[in-house]
């Protein structure tokens, strides 16, 4: 019994731990987000504009429902930090005199002090950037402001609600070494960019019940003459969107696997208890004949089960609390809140333990009811000899020559189909857990493969402050070390398809006959897609968000300049894992905007030996707003995601293995104890220990070998469901499972079975032959 108790408690603990970890982590993030948004007065609506006079804010404030308006300046910058050789970019944002003067999106000083204007260029630096570069207060960094490189002094570190996660523009992962946020006193920044009395960033808060769409429409109208780039709500604010997605994904992940694990644990408890009660039938009968009520006797077993549940709950709560803290810590590397994050919500613990107890006790109640309801007179008799029948297999000619031990095995399996079925399902679920555990890795490596390997053939992506004439491409080409350049014109747009609309960026792809293609577009089968001619290519994510297919016509509005609108036909769907993305030809975008050939991004392929020199040239170019290196982003991707992934995978594999061992061990313990008498008899009449073991091993093999394919199938289905549930506008999670994942799952289950087979073997070795013979049938 001791082994079984441990196995059941372990499975329960695992189920609870996953549930608690996921839920508290999700809850902590959610709580931190709400609290922080409230405290820092996170805005509801955001807008960028080329430049608008500060006087405009008066009219904006008059829009119905607007409660607060915060205007400011934000500009992309390139930065040089000490001896960090690779290009660093950032965003510099204006700061009023004090924190209290900030109506919205208040910056919190984490270390040091608020920068003072006019005091030799003081700035706040975002905390992750500060930490990544191991900076100190008082350090100076070089920032190119409006084409002039200036030395700025760090007076403190800050965090703000619009940069809980700091995404470099165009990137899809935070990279604190190569992208940072900086805050500078408003007057200093205005002076640096010649923007006195003007703004280019706007944040609004709205009163309760305000129609946001309407506010955005009116705001767009007001900003249009000043080069408005389209206002948007929180749901499109990049930092908030990432968190919202993350929370959504976490909700999925903290429901699926725990639900499975909890039901397995409840099932185990049920089977073991009904077995125990069968063994104790006579004792139950004696107690009842002494006058104990059914309830008294039942209560005894319920207490026993409760003890087990308590044991599992303590383990699960401790493990879950610890894991929740670790997981939250992992998220904290991406999502920065100025508050302590992990909150071990007692309600989550209570709910999880309650649910577990409910499931387990329901199982126990069934077993108790059937054992206790037998009248004492009947129960005192030993259980009648098990009734076996000739099986269907007895009619199969092949079976006629079968050995008695094989017949024993088959008839035993046939006699208890329900239990065999449940046992198989238990093991299958555990195997599916192993598949799910590796699914994240498979899909991420697939993305890396496609994204960094097949699609991105460039070494660096250079972004410009403002659209630059196409000839910069030729300037770049002339730089010593640059091998080839591909220009792109990216522009913010809004698409409509029927009632659906989405705001995103369109990338204008240059004529492939004139430029080498450094960013390949691929379809879902990883086949090369021809660059767009007159039509539009959209990503799988955008296609599903708009319910659009090839051949459909979308309405496109460019959110720049004269805001032209046009209908375009979808000519292809691409798989780029960059979320909602779309591609047109460079010339058709230029034409739409009524501009000459101009570009905003250039992809560069470089001679690795001369990289440094190229960076230097790029940094000195006044048009360059930022340079992002593929190698660097790949490394940071692997450093951050890779490490988290590894840890999650480890958790998953440990759990699934524990569960596999728990289920197999328990099922087989029950079989061993039920069949100990006949196995001992076989030993007595001269069967060798190994020959007897074979019978149980055969039983185990049948369970495991049926369960494995079933588990692989279930796992595949679960992963498909998870991939669906995890896919958001920002990320499309590809459904990919490697052969290796199946191999690992099979190996782990086989290894678990081997361990159980060894335990069984030991059990048979320890059978007390004489004691068994003394007992009645």
């Amino acid at each position: 019994m001791k082994g079984q108790v441990a196995a059941i408690a372990a499975v329960m603990s695992c189920g609870l731990a996953i549930f608690i970890a996921g839920m508290t982590c999700q809850g902590s993030l959610n709580r931190a987000r709400s609290a922080y948004y409230a405290e820092s007065r996170f805005a509801h609506v955001f807008a960028s504009v080329k430049t608008a006079p500060s006087s405009l804010t008066g009219r904006i404030r008059e829009i119905d429902g607007v409660t607060k308006v915060q205007e400011g300046i934000a500009e992309p910058v390139t930065v040089t930090v000490k001896d960090f050789a690779e290009p660093v970019t950032g965003e510099i944002i204006s700061l009023p005199g004090t924190m209290q003067a900030m109506g919205l999106n208040r910056v919190t000083v984490r270390q040091g002090r608020w920068p003072i204007r006019g005091r030799g260029r003081e700035i706040l630096v975002s905390e992750p950037f500060f930490e990544a570069h191991k900076l100190a207060l008082g350090d100076r960094i070089k920032v190119v402001l409006n084409g002039r490189e200036e030395e700025l002094t760090i007076t403190g570190t800050g965090l703000s609600p619009d940069f809980i996660i700091e995404m470099p523009p165009g990137g899809f992962l935070p990279d604190s070494l190569r992208f940072g946020v900086f805050w500078m006193p408003q007057e200093d920044l205005e002076a640096a960019f010649n923007m006195e009395g003007a703004f280019n960033q706007l944040a609004l808060s709205l009163g309760r019940g305000t129609n946001q769409e309407e506010v955005i429409r009116q705001l767009d109208d007001l900003l249009e003459p000043y080069g408005g780039l389209g206002a948007y709500g929180r749901e499109n604010q990049i930092s908030d969107r990432f968190i919202a997605d993350e929370l959504k994904q976490l909700r999925v992940m903290s429901f699926f696997p725990p639900a499975i694990f909890l039901s397995i644990a409840a099932y185990l408890l049920n089977v073991s208890l009904s077995r125990l009660m069968n063994l104790q039938r006579p004792q139950i009968a004696v107690l009842k004949s002494f006058g104990y009520s059914t309830w008294d006797v039942g209560w005894h077993y319920v207490k026993m089960a409760s003890l087990l549940i308590l044991l599992g709950s303590i383990g699960g709560a401790l493990l879950g609390g610890w894991m929740g803290r670790v997981m939250t810590g992992m998220y904290q590397r991406f999502y920065r809140f100025p508050l302590s994050l992990y909150h071990a919500d007692p309600a989550v613990f209570a709910f999880a333990v309650g649910l577990m107890a409910l499931l387990a006790l329901a199982g126990v109640a069934g077993a108790v009811r059937s054992a206790v309801s037998i009248p004492p007179a009947v129960a005192m008799q030993p259980e009648p000899p098990a009734v076996y029948r000739k099986s269907i297999l007895d009619r199969v000619p092949l079976f006629r020559g079968a050995s008695p031990s094989l017949r024993m095995l088959i008839r035993e399996l046939e006699r208890r189909p329900r239990r065999v079925f449940l046992g198989i399902f238990g093991i299958a679920f555990a195997s599916s857990g192993l598949i799910m555990g590796n699914f994240g890795k498979d899909s991420i490596y697939y993305i890396i493969d496609v994204q960094f390997g097949l699609s991105q053939r460039y070494d660096a992506a250079v972004t410009f402050h403002r659209p630059a004439p196409l000839r910069v491409v030729h300037d770049f080409q002339a730089i010593d070390g640059v091998e080839s350049v591909e220009p792109v014109r990216a522009v913010p747009v809004k698409f409509w398809h029927g009632p659906r609309s989405k705001q995103t960026m369109v990338q204008g792809v240059a004529d492939p006959n004139r430029f080498v293609r450094l960013k390949q577009l691929l379809d879902v089968d990883r086949k090369l897609v021809e660059p767009p001619g007159e039509g539009l290519l959209i990503s799988v994510a955008l296609a599903s968000a708009l319910r659009a297919e090839v051949g459909d016509v979308l309405v496109l509005e460019i959110l720049e300049r004269n805001r032209p609108r046009r209908e375009v036909a979808v000519t292809g769907i691409v798989e780029d894992f960059e979320g909602l993305s779309a591609y047109m030809s460079l010339s058709s975008i230029n034409r739409l905007l009524r501009e000459g050939p101009s570009v905003t991004v250039a992809f560069l392929r470089m001679d690795p030996a001369r990289e440094k020199a190229v960076y230097k040239e790029l940094r000195e170019s006044p048009q360059v707003a930022g340079v992002s290196l593929k190698r660097a982003s790949m490394r940071s991707f692997l450093d951050t995601i890779g490490e988290n992934l590894l840890r999650m995978r480890l958790f998953n594999i440990i759990f699934a293995t524990t569960i596999a061992v728990g289920v197999i061990y328990n099922s087989m313990r029950v079989v061993l104890s039920e069949r100990s008498r006949e196995l001992a008899t076989m030993r007595v009449i001269g069967f060798r220990h190994g020959e007897v073991s074979t019978i149980l091993q055969g039983h185990l093999a049948v369970l495991v070998l049926t369960a494995i394919p079933l588990g692989l199938g279930l796992g595949t289905l679960f992963c498909l469901a998870i991939a669906r549930a995890l896919t958001t506008d920002l990320y499309r999670v590809p459904f990919v499972l490697n052969r290796e994942t199946f191999g690992v799952a099979i190996l782990v289950v086989l290894a678990a079975s081997l361990v159980c087979a060894l335990f069984l073997d030991r059990g048979i070795r320890r059978l007390d032959l004489i004691a068994v013979l003394k007992a009645r049938d």
Partner: protein
């Protein structure tokens, strides 16, 4: 009186102590005994006197604390567990009070379990015919009466043509008539095959069937009676 070549078991100074420390039970306190080929021996004694313990040691199911048991001049008390398994497999047939049939196998298959692994077995059908069960060969234990089940157990024990047949209260769970049928089967095997047979019983009447009756009390052989005339099972009354 017997020649040495017909000596099957030679038991010398066997003791068996259960438990350790203060709570020890001396089940056997020094047994000396010779059993010969073809003999029919009955063990009589009060409950707890050590009969089963002795039988189990003879059959290689249990080990003695001290002393030696020789089977056809081989000292089995020195054997490993694996050697004892081989000994049981090739030479010993067991019959117990509770029949210990495999419930998932038919009568024939229960016997086949043994004939499949024995060296020179009879067929399961032959063995079942010896116990008059040829009609019920394809029935499962749950479909057989207690006496029939016990006869299947006997068929299973003798199918390998064992040198010794050890029966621990074979009629203990049966009424008179079925008990006699079972004893008759045991007797027949003893006669026809010359199998050395040891039967434990609480029923002194059964002692009439034996060549020798060994009385055990408190872990010691108290006395051994020899019957001049063996009565057959059919004439027993109790």
């Amino acid at each position: 009186m017997h020649e040495d070549s017909s000596l099957v078991f030679a038991v010398r100074g066997i003791t068996k102590v259960y438990g350790t420390g203060g709570l020890t039970v001396h089940a056997l306190r020094g047994i000396d005994l010779d059993l010969y080929e073809g003999e029919f021996v009955v063990l009589l004694g009060a409950s707890g006197s050590g009969k089963s313990t002795l039988l189990n040691i003879l059959g290689g199911l249990d080990s003695a604390t001290a002393g030696e048991v020789r089977f056809r001049n081989e000292e089995i008390t020195k054997w490993s567990a694996a050697q004892l398994t081989g000994f049981r497999r090739d030479h010993v047939g067991f019959v117990f009070q509770f029949y210990n049939l495999i419930p998932s196998l038919t009568a024939r298959e229960n016997v086949a379990l043994v004939t499949d692994i024995a060296r020179a077995p009879m067929t399961p059908e032959e063995a079942l015919r010896m116990v008059d069960l040829q009609e019920r060969m394809d029935h499962f234990p749950s479909q057989l009466s207690g006496g029939e089940q016990q006869r299947v157990a006997i068929a299973r024990a003798i199918a390998k043509r064992p040198g010794v047949l050890l029966c621990d209260e074979p009629t203990g769970a049966l009424d008179v008539r079925t008990g006699i049928a079972v004893l008759r089967a045991i007797e027949r095997i003893n006669r026809e095959f010359g199998t050395t047979t040891v039967v434990i019983t609480h029923n002194a009447v059964i002692a009439g069937m034996a060549n020798r009756v060994i009385h055990i009390s408190d872990g010691l052989i108290q006395r051994i009676d020899e019957n001049e005339v063996r009565c057959d099972a059919g004439s027993l009354k109790w």
